[in-house]
Assembly symmetry: C2
Homo-oligomer: 362 residues x 2
C-alpha cells in the first residue's frame, strides 16, 4: 500500500491505530468470539462499549451532569428538523446565523416548522467571514439561536462562542466539523450536534449533547425517532443504534484522550492550519478567500491564481499521494480538510507539493 494523505471533507481520514485495532478485533472482540457488528445492542459487551464512549466524551469535553449525550442516526441534516420540532415548544420563531451552505440548509429545513429570523448573515460577502456579535440582531421572541460553528464548505469558523443576552434562550450549534478539535465550554450551549464523519468516526452516527431542561414533548406529527426526550429516556436504545459506528467512535475518542485530549489536539491543529495559511500569506499563486480572523482550522479552501491550472494541480497532487483536494461543487477551487486524524506530515507534504507546483508554474 502506497502512503496516501486523504483531505476529504467527510467521511474523512481516521487515526491509523484505530483502523489497526478495528482490523485486529474484527472477528473476535476481546475474546467474545464475535465481531462488534454481530453483538446484540442490549448485551453486556456492547453496553460496555457505548458506556465507555459516553464516559470518555464526558471527560474530554467536561460535559456537565445536567446534559444528556445521545447517539442518533440521520446526520446533521436530520438535526436541522429535530431542533425546531423539539425546541420550538410554544414559540413560533427562531434566530439563525447564516454563514454558509450548511447554515442555509439548517435555515431552509427550519422554515418548514417556524418563522426564521436571520439574525446575522455573511451571504452578501459570499460567506467569507463570521459576523461579530455586534452585528447580530437577536429577537427576544426566538425559541432558540442557531449557528454553524464551522462551515465545512466555506472554511469559516467561529473562534469565539456567542453570548446569549437572554440566558433563557438556548444557544444551538451545528459543530459537525469542529467538535473535539479544541476545548469547549459545553455549559454555554443548550444543544450541540455533530455528524460523526469528520472528527468522531464513521458516517451513520450523529452525536447530540442536550441540556436536560430542553427535553420536552415535540410538535404534533413528530416521528418518535425525531423525539429527543424519547431517545434520552431510552439511553439511545429507543431502537437499534448504529453499533459499529459507535464502536469505532469509541476507539477514536480513546485515541484522542491518549494523545493528550483537547488542549493537545488544539495545538496540533493550529500548527497544521498555520502551515497552509502561512503559505497563502506569502504567495500570490494561492489565495484563501476567508477573512483572517475567521479562517477554519479544519477546512482550508483556496484557489489558484490561474484556474486553468486546477486540473493539473489535482492530478499532480494525486500522483504525490495527496487526494480529495477538489473544492465543493458549490464553490469550486480547492479545499484541504485537515481534521484531528490528519497527521502533520500530511499537511507538510501538501505544502511542499504546493510550493513546488507554484514554482514550476509561476
Amino acid at each position: 500500500m502506497e502512503q496516501i494523505y486523504n483531505f476529504s471533507a467527510g467521511p474523512a481520514v481516521l487515526p491509523k491505530t484505530v483502523l489497526q485495532q478495528a482490523r485486529d478485533e474484527m472477528l473476535d472482540w476481546h475474546g467474545s468470539g464475535m465481531s462488534v457488528m454481530e453483538m446484540s445492542h442490549r448485551g453486556n459487551e456492547f453496553i460496555s462499549i457505548i458506556e465507555n464512549l459516553e464516559n470518555d466524551l464526558r471527560e474530554l469535553l467536561d460535559i456537565p451532569q445536567n446534559y444528556k449525550v445521545l447517539f442518533l442516526q440521520g446526520g446533521a441534516s436530520s438535526q436541522f428538523a429535530m431542533v425546531p420540532m423539539n425546541l420550538l415548544q410554544n414559540k413560533t420563531q427562531a434566530d439563525y446565523i447564516n454563514t454558509g451552505e450548511w447554515s442555509k440548509k439548517a435555515i431552509n429545513e427550519a422554515k418548514q416548522f417556524c418563522t426564521v429570523n436571520i439574525a446575522a448573515s455573511s451571504e452578501q460577502m459570499h460567506f467569507t467571514y463570521a459576523p461579530t456579535q455586534d452585528q447580530w440582531h437577536l429577537d427576544p421572541a426566538a425559541a432558540y439561536v442557531h449557528y454553524t460553528s464551522n462551515e465545512t464548505i466555506g472554511g469559516v469558523e467561529f473562534n469565539w462562542v456567542p453570548k446569549m443576552l437572554d440566558t433563557h434562550i438556548p444557544l444551538v450549534a451545528d459543530m459537525s466539523s469542529n467538535l473535539l478539535s479544541r476545548p469547549l465550554d459545553v455549559s454555554l450551549f443548550g444543544l450541540i450536534y455533530a455528524g460523526a464523519q469528520k472528527n468522531l468516526g464513521p458516517a451513520g452516527l450523529t452525536l447530540v449533547i442536550i441540556r436536560e431542561d430542553l427535553l420536552a414533548s415535540p410538535l404534533a406529527n413528530t416521528p418518535t425517532l425525531f423525539n429527543y426526550q424519547a431517545h434520552a429516556k431510552n439511553n439511545s436504545m429507543l431502537n437499534t443504534p448504529p453499533t459499529y459506528a459507535i464502536y469505532i467512535t469509541g476507539l477514536v475518542i480513546a485515541w484522542l484522550k491518549k494523545i493528550g485530549g483537547l488542549e493537545t489536539i488544539e495545538q496540533i491543529n493550529i500548527s497544521k492550519a498555520n502551515l497552509l495559511y502561512d503559505l497563502f500569506d506569502t504567495s500570490d499563486f494561492y489565495h484563501c478567500p476567508v477573512t483572517k480572523s475567521d479562517r477554519s482550522r479544519m477546512n482550508v479552501p483556496f484557489t489558484l491564481k490561474d484556474p486553468s491550472l486546477d486540473n493539473a494541480f489535482l492530478e499532480q497532487a494525486k500522483d504525490n499521494g495527496l487526494i480529495q483536494l477538489k473544492g465543493h461543487r458549490s464553490v469550486g477551487g480547492m479545499r484541504a480538510s485537515i481534521y484531528n486524524a490528519m497527521p502533520i506530515e500530511g499537511v507538510a507534504n501538501l505544502v511542499a507539493f504546493m510550493k513546488d507546483f507554484a514554482h514550476k508554474n509561476a
Copy 2:
C-alpha cells in the same frame, strides 16, 4: 478464539468470510490506500461500492425497473412514520395487520398520522399465528395495507404473500427479519422495508424498495430526511449515507449470490429450521407456541416445560458456545434466531445440546 454460535435476533451473526474480507481490507480497500470508512461518499471508490450493492440486490430479488432501491438510516422504526407520512397522500386511513410486537409498534406510530384500521389481528391468541386472508377485513378507503412478514419476537412468519383485492391500494411490508431468506416476488408490493441488522449487514442501514408511482410529496411538516421522493431523486445521497454499513452489506449480498442466491439459501434455511421444529414435535420437554403453518424460519421461540430450568439452560448453553438464546423480555422463554449467516452446524450443535439437556433434566 473459541468457536461460538451467536443466536442473537439482531444485530446478528455475519458470514465469517465477510468479516475476514472486511478485516483484510480495513486499512486499504482495493489498493486505494484508504479504509472504506475514510472514503468520500461522492468519490469513485464508494460510488462503485453502492452501485454494486444495488445491482446485486436487483439481480437477487429480480427487482422490476419501476422500483427504486433506497439506502437510508433510522431502522424499521423510522419507517413506521415514513410510510404513513409519504403514502397517505389525500387519504386519512390505512389498514394494518396486527401479528405481534413489531406490528404493534408500526400501528402505534401510524396512529399519529392517520386512522388505523386493524384489518386482522392475532392478539387475542397471544400472537401465535398469522391470520389467513379470509379473516382480513380490508377497507377500500385505505391508503395502503401494512403487515409484518416475520415477527422477530413472536416467531410468526407469513409463508404467503397477501393478495390485494383493489390493486390500486399498495401492499407495504416490514421484512426486517426475513428479507433475502427466500425468493420473493417484489412486483406484488408497493413498498418493502428492512433494517439491515438481521440478514443484510450491520445496524445503521435501512433498505427501502419502493414502486416509483408512490414517490410523491409527503404530509406537511415531514422532515426532508423522511421524504422518499427526496432520497430517490438524490440516489440515497441526500446527505452522507452510512457508508461502512453499505460496504459490509455489499459483501454479505455478494456472499449470498456466490453460495447460490435465494433458492439455495431458502433450502438451507428450511433445513436449519426443521432441525429445531422437529425436536419440538418429538419432545414434551420443549414447546413452541406458534401454529405449525406460521412458524418462522428465522426466529424460533420456545419454552421449557419447567421454567425453573431456564437459567440453567442458558448457562449451560453458553458453556457450550451457544449464546444469545434468551427470549425477548416481552415474552420470556428462549429464542434462537437462525438467519442466513447462521451455519447449519450451529443449529445442529444447539439441537444436540438441547437433547442432552432434556435427557439430563427429564
